[in-house]
């Protein structure tokens, strides 16, 4: 208790401003400064002189607040810019923009329905393919996989997430599309042709190819988040079910899946959000033809890919603002989808899972 009182002696200027406890450390620092190079010590002594000043803490705190608020600012700025730039198109077409199916830049007629259809169908197709696989892999990695394989396999699935979209597209164009054109397509036509979803003409570049490539791309998202959610289920839930004599599947079904279903739905919606906005890979394999067809082997077009393809070539303000309005729609839809997903995942991860049923 005596020591602090002896310290302040060599720093008289501090005594005026600062409360007694705050003296010990700056003193220690002055010793340190003496050993550092001259240039640095100027900065340091300036900082030291100011560091305990009245404004230092406040200034730093407000700087951090500004950074945090800039996250809001970014979102607001994006919304503002998108709305203001798409005004001409909003005025011209109103809600009809989303209900009509003519997309004719030459005559100035713009309707976004074919793109909405393409985005929804390709994303749903991707979710339909990816979800069962992702859940199966999560279960495999959590409960079945031998320990030595767990690390490598989860690393590999995470690598899938690190591959850029354009590389998926490249692979899609040169590998996937020919396979779907020559091998998978004819088989689907033969056995599932009666549904009307798979029919000639089959060029390979199609809604189906887009769905497959999207499924590969959203798989890591769904798999890793649903695995986290399943892992959040308390161990005694599992043990309790096992103690009742359940098999592994029954334990998973009753103890794990039922408890984490909200989070799993959240992960699926997050994957859906990713699929809705995915641009490059889809643009490269979907065929880019604005039409609404039941045939999944026919080319389609999505919201994101029409922007990617036509934005730089858009002549005239109306054309450009129609494309920006599509971007605005995409933005709002993904925000809503992501918000719902985040809320679901949060609700689960916060520990509501332990609730009994």
């Amino acid at each position: 208790m005596n020591e602090p009182k002896t310290v302040p002696v060599d720093r008289p200027q501090m005594q005026k401003v600062v409360v007694p406890q705050e003296r010990a450390v700056p003193t220690e620092r002055t010793v340190e400064t003496a050993a550092t190079p001259a240039g640095l010590s100027v900065v340091r002594s300036f900082l030291l002189a100011k560091s305990s000043g009245r404004y230092a803490d406040g200034a730093f705190a407000s700087l951090m607040v500004v950074c945090a608020l800039s996250v809001f600012a970014i979102v607001l700025l994006i919304v503002f810019v998108l709305i203001s730039k798409s005004m001409p198109s909003i005025h011209q077409f109103g809600w009809r923009f989303f209900e009509t199916r003519t997309w004719d830049p030459v005559s100035g007629q713009f309707g976004a329905l074919p793109f909405i259809y393409g985005t929804v169908v390709s994303s749903l197709l991707a979710v339909l393919i990816a979800v069962p696989l992702a859940l199966a892999v999560s279960i495999f990695l959590l409960d079945i996989c031998p320990r030595f394989l767990r690390g490598p396999i989860s690393f590999l699935t995470e690598l899938l997430a690190a591959i850029p979209s354009v590389v998926y597209g490249l692979w899609g164009v040169f590998v996937l599309v020919p396979i779907i054109r020559d091998q998978v397509g004819p088989v689907l036509e033969k056995y599932l042709g009666w549904t009307g979803f798979f029919a000639e003409p089959n060029f390979g570049v199609s809604m189906f190819s887009a769905g497959v490539i999207l499924a590969i791309m959203i798989f890591p998202v769904i798999s890793s988040i649903s695995r986290d959610v399943m892992r959040a289920v308390p161990v005694n839930q599992r043990e309790a079910v096992l103690a009742l004599g359940a098999t592994r599947w029954e334990m998973l079904r009753i103890g794990v899946l039922r408890n984490s279903r909200m989070g799993i739905v959240g992960s699926v919606i997050l994957g859906l959000g990713r699929a809705l906005g995915e641009t490059m890979a889809v643009t490269m394999v979907i065929g880019n033809h604005p039409d609404i067809l039941k045939n999944l082997l026919a080319p389609g077009y999505t919201l994101a890919s029409v922007i990617a393809n036509e934005f730089t070539e858009a002549t005239g303000d109306l054309y450009l603002s129609a494309l920006i309005e599509i971007g605005l729609a995409l933005f709002l839809v993904t925000i809503v989808v992501n918000a719902i997903a985040r809320l679901l995942v949060w609700a689960v991860m916060r520990g509501n899972t332990a609730r009994a049923h």
Binding site: S52, A68, V166, I216, W249, E278, L330
Partner: protein, 296 residues
């Protein structure tokens, strides 16, 4: 104790069999699915290495793109352009993201504003990259009336912010509170505690987060389509001119009808993926070693 329902042994045995059969079926299904998922992964990576490595040579790293019909050529300008764009994006996005993360963890713990910022960051994370491109186009390109490296950098920076923010916050949360309290108890002002104690302790994790954000935007093409735009020639210093980027060049070459360009696209893709993989692997090593264990 109520008596158990009467059931024939036969029925019970059947039930038992069905349960174990279901169990085995599900196990088999999970194994098969995992194999099925690993196939495209191995196919993509394998094909990429096969195609990319066979067309990769020194010229790829040192030469400008060759005109159509001419053999050879490389993507030197695109590699440099990507470097410049990413540097620009990191310079803008990382400090902003770290600042917001510090605010969330050190100042806004449990406040209403903190939750709102966190939620906004999460949502921003899910916004399609092409929308970022449009925003940067409308903000900068439309105003300046020409495509520029600066606008590309801004688009990428915006994409980095939410990732950096969230990882910074998560990593700062692992710093045990007694460490902060000890610093504050010594009379160190709060800002100094945050900088020299909290941030420093959490720095391996924060670096990890920054690298992840970096790796994520390194492969982005969509936001650059109408901001950085691409360039067939060198642009090293002029932020007001269009600039080439590796992912952009890959896209242009992939959809072109020329075999020679396809070859270059594969080489570019291999280089891009290897660069990203190195970043991600470094991050994993960092994360496994450096990240500090939370308080007890």
């Amino acid at each position: 104790m109520s008596p158990l329902p009467v059931r024939s042994r036969h029925l019970e045995r059947l039930l038992e069999l069905r349960r174990s059969a279901t169990n085995h079926a599900v196990t088999a299904l999970a194994v098969v699915s995992t194999v099925l998922v690993l196939v495209p992964l191995v196919a993509i990576v394998g094909y990429l290495i096969y195609k990319g490595a066979s067309s990769l040579n020194l010229a790829f790293f040192t030469h400008l793109p060759a005109p159509v019909g001419e053999k050879g050529g490389g993507m030197a300008n695109a590699i440099a352009g990507s470097g410049l764009l990413l540097g620009l994006a990191s310079l803008m996005g990382i400090p902003l993201g770290i600042g917001a993360g510090v605010y969330l963890s050190e100042y806004a713990h449990g406040t209403w504003l903190g939750s709102a910022v966190r939620f906004t960051a999460d949502v921003l994370n899910g916004v399609p990259s092409i929308v970022m491109g449009i925003a940067a186009y409308a903000l900068i390109v439309a105003r300046q009336q020409h495509f520029s490296a600066l606008s590309g950098g801004v688009a990428l920076a915006i994409m980095m912010v939410p990732t950096v923010t969230r990882t910074t916050e998560e990593m700062l949360a692992t710093v045990p509170n007694p460490v902060r309290e000890a610093a504050l108890g010594l009379g160190i002002p709060k800002w100094r505690t945050v900088l020299s104690v909290s941030l420093r302790t959490a720095s391996p994790g924060i670096i990890t987060g920054c690298m992840l954000a970096f790796a994520r935007v390194a492969g982005e093409t969509a936001p650059l389509l109408f901001t950085a735009f691409g360039n067939q020639f060198w642009n090293l210093f002029n932020l007001n001119q269009p600039i080439a980027a590796l992912p952009l060049q890959i896209y242009v070459y992939a959809i072109s009808p020329y075999d020679d360009w396809h070859r270059l696209a594969w080489a570019g893709a291999l280089v891009l993926v290897v660069m990203i993989m190195i970043a991600v692997t470094l991050v994993r090593i960092f994360a496994n070693r450096g990240v500090l264990k939370g308080g007890h």
